[in-house]
Symmetry: C2
Subunit: 116 residues, 2 copies
Amino acid sequence: MKVVNYKDVLPVVMSNETVKNVAGRVMIGKQDGAKNFCMRVFEMGKNGYTPRHTHDWEHEVFVHTGTGEVLIEDHWHPLSEGSAIFIPANIEHQFKNTSDKTFTFVCLIPSGAPEL
Amino acid sequence: MKVVNYKDVLPVVMSNETVKNVAGRVMIGKQDGAKNFCMRVFEMGKNGYTPRHTHDWEHEVFVHTGTGEVLIEDHWHPLSEGSAIFIPANIEHQFKNTSDKTFTFVCLIPSGAPEL
C-alpha cells in the first residue's frame, strides 16, 4: 500500500524539441506492486505542452488544476478542473496549457507501457 | 475517445447502512471502450464514508478536493488535495470525509471489477 502527495515526490523535468515545461511523476507503478495500470501526475507550466504523438496504449486522464486543451486526432478540446479524458490506443494526441496557472493532470496507462 | 467534466455527469447517490453521503460516477469504462481499467469519481459530503470492506481487486486513488482519511488495514492515513493512494487487492479499506467541504477523489479499478 502507499499514501503520498504528489507535491512530496521529486518530479522528472521534461523539456526538449517535442515537450516543453512539463514535470512528471510516477505516483503508483510496478515498484509499488501495481500490476494492471500505472498512475502518473504531470504539471505543466505556462506555454507548456506534451509531444504530439501516438502509441499502442490508451490514456485515462483527469484534470486536477488549471486549464488546457487536448488534441485528439484533428480536434482541440478545452479542459478545466474535473475534466476526464479517454484517449484510445493509436490515436494522435497532445496536451497544452492555455493559461498562466499550472495545469496539473493525472494520466493513467496500462502496465507494459513506459511508466514515464 | 471521450472528454467530459464530472460535474456534467449525473451521479449515483449512495446511502445505506454501509455507505453515507457519497455520489459516484463512472467517468471512463467498458461503455467507452476502456478495456484495461475504469475511472470513477466520488464526491463525499459532510460526515460521509465508504464501506469498510475488502475485495480481490486493487484501487488507485487521487484526491481532487477536500480532506479526508483512508483506513488501510488497521491504520488511518490523512488525505489532502493531491494525495495518491494505492490499495492492493484483498486489503481492508475505508474512506471518510473529515471536513465540511466536499471530499472528491478519483478511484480507478481494473476491468472485470464492478464499475460502480
